[in-house]
Amino acid sequence: MSTIESKDKRCVVVGASQAGVTFAFALRSEGWEGEIILLDSDTNLPYYRPPLSKAVLTGAESIDDHILKPLSLYERENISLKLGCTVKSINKADKKIILRDDSSISYDKLVLATGSRPIIPKIKNIDETPKLYTLRTAEDVKKISSALANSKQKRVVLIGGGYVGLETAASLKKLGASVTVLEKEDRVLARVTAPEMSQYFESLHTENGVNIHTNKNVNAFEVNNESTSVVCQDGSTFEADIVIIGVGVFVNKELAEAAGLEISNGIKVDSSTKTSDDSIYAIGDCTNHYNALYDRHIRLESIQNANDQAKVAAAVICGKEANYNALPWFWSDQFDVKLQMVGLYKGANEVLIRDDDGENHKFSVWYFKDDTLLAVDAVNNTKAYVMGTKFIKGGNKINKAHLVDTSVDFKPANILAKD
């Protein structure tokens, strides 16, 4: 039973991806008895995105293996899923949303889970460049796979060396493509991790035959008969049969912005996921939220954040007390390397590496601000990831000398500082 009367109420959710779908089901299990309407402009049954750049791109798995929920579960939970349905605007005074066909749906509670979309940089001739793709949706993967299958030379230039770019590079390499990554910064993963990890991933990719070039600012495409020349500011040129853009995302904040909700690097929400309007909540990639552990406002593009905010929103809308104070975690799989990350490394003033078996790609990077552990990146090292998670949550102090000394058995009792 919910703690508020919800029988005659209607909750409308805009965006049916990870956050929106998780929210809709969580709302029902929290006891919401009223209507739940879940809308998305995409016509595909909502799916899970992380495998797109990995197992789905390599063809090892199909997107049908990664449907978030089968249709029967939406029916069972009485969640009205409206696909191919685009929301044009929000009228918050009258508490209704207006659809593209000018029809409207009223709401008691509105949840925005609008996510983000790939940034398309302003590069000369980008609109005229054939076989140029982003990687965000199942459609994108289909297009890339088909272009690759039809390409003789299979020369792929990836613009942007972030996680999606590097995962895509690894997958395309497995498919036999000749892959070049062009990164604008002086290292890959510059926006998301420390130089130590960037260096590791650059070597990993290089060893596996990916050509990584940093400090490459692409400023034009020259379309030839069969291929495209990717021209960088420094004059260097790379020939491509396929170009993939992976330079980050824009938040889909336009609906919220036009409705007059507070925006600041995303849709601003409080710890209960509420926006500046009492009846409107926002969850997932599109939000800018306060993280109590790191004492700052952040925006996260991750499954963890989508799921955890969805659960908080569901509880709060059902009248329960809930606050979002999750510790962020992420993962990435590239070639045979499993990277697990916990925490946020920004603000670190000391980086320690525990090299359990670096030659065999097993190590962990520990980020500290003075004596406070901020984050751990674990490469093929789940034990380090798990310990890091527990220590950060517990606010534990670490014995740094033991941490980096691989002759000391790697277990919590040895790694924790004695009081």
Binding site: Y48, P50, K69, R76, W331, K338, T382, Y385
Partner: protein, 102 residues
């Protein structure tokens, strides 16, 4: 086809049939409460934790080292704990009963 029974924390018994895929996928595609599979089945999150009764443990085998490490992030860890994304469904699993841990 293997018949597999999930026992939820509310002691609900749900028997499902499948011939392939992981136990985690079977559970999430059928809305088994307490099995989330947040990482999609790549042994990164510990949200698909089950207990395997002793009489069935031979069918599922033991957890791998990574799995054991990761299980430490979950509550209610026991010797018979498994992350069910790491259990692949085969004919041999027919009759398996697992208890959702959280």
């Amino acid at each position: 086809m293997a018949k597999i029974t999930f026992v939820t924390r509310d002691n609900e018994h749900i028997t499902l049939e499948a011939s392939s895929g992981s136990l985690m996928k079977l559970a999430t595609q059928n809305g088994i409460k307490g099995i989330e599979g947040e990482c999609g089945g790549v042994c990164s999150c510990a949200t698909c934790h089950v207990h395997v009764p002793e009489e069935h443990s031979a069918k599922t085998g033991e957890a791998s080292e990574i799995e054991k490490d990761l299980l430490e992030l979950s509550d209610n860890v026991q010797d018979n704990s498994r992350l069910c994304c790491q259990v692949q469904i085969t004919e041999e699993l027919d009759g398996l009963v697992v208890h959702v841990a959280n």
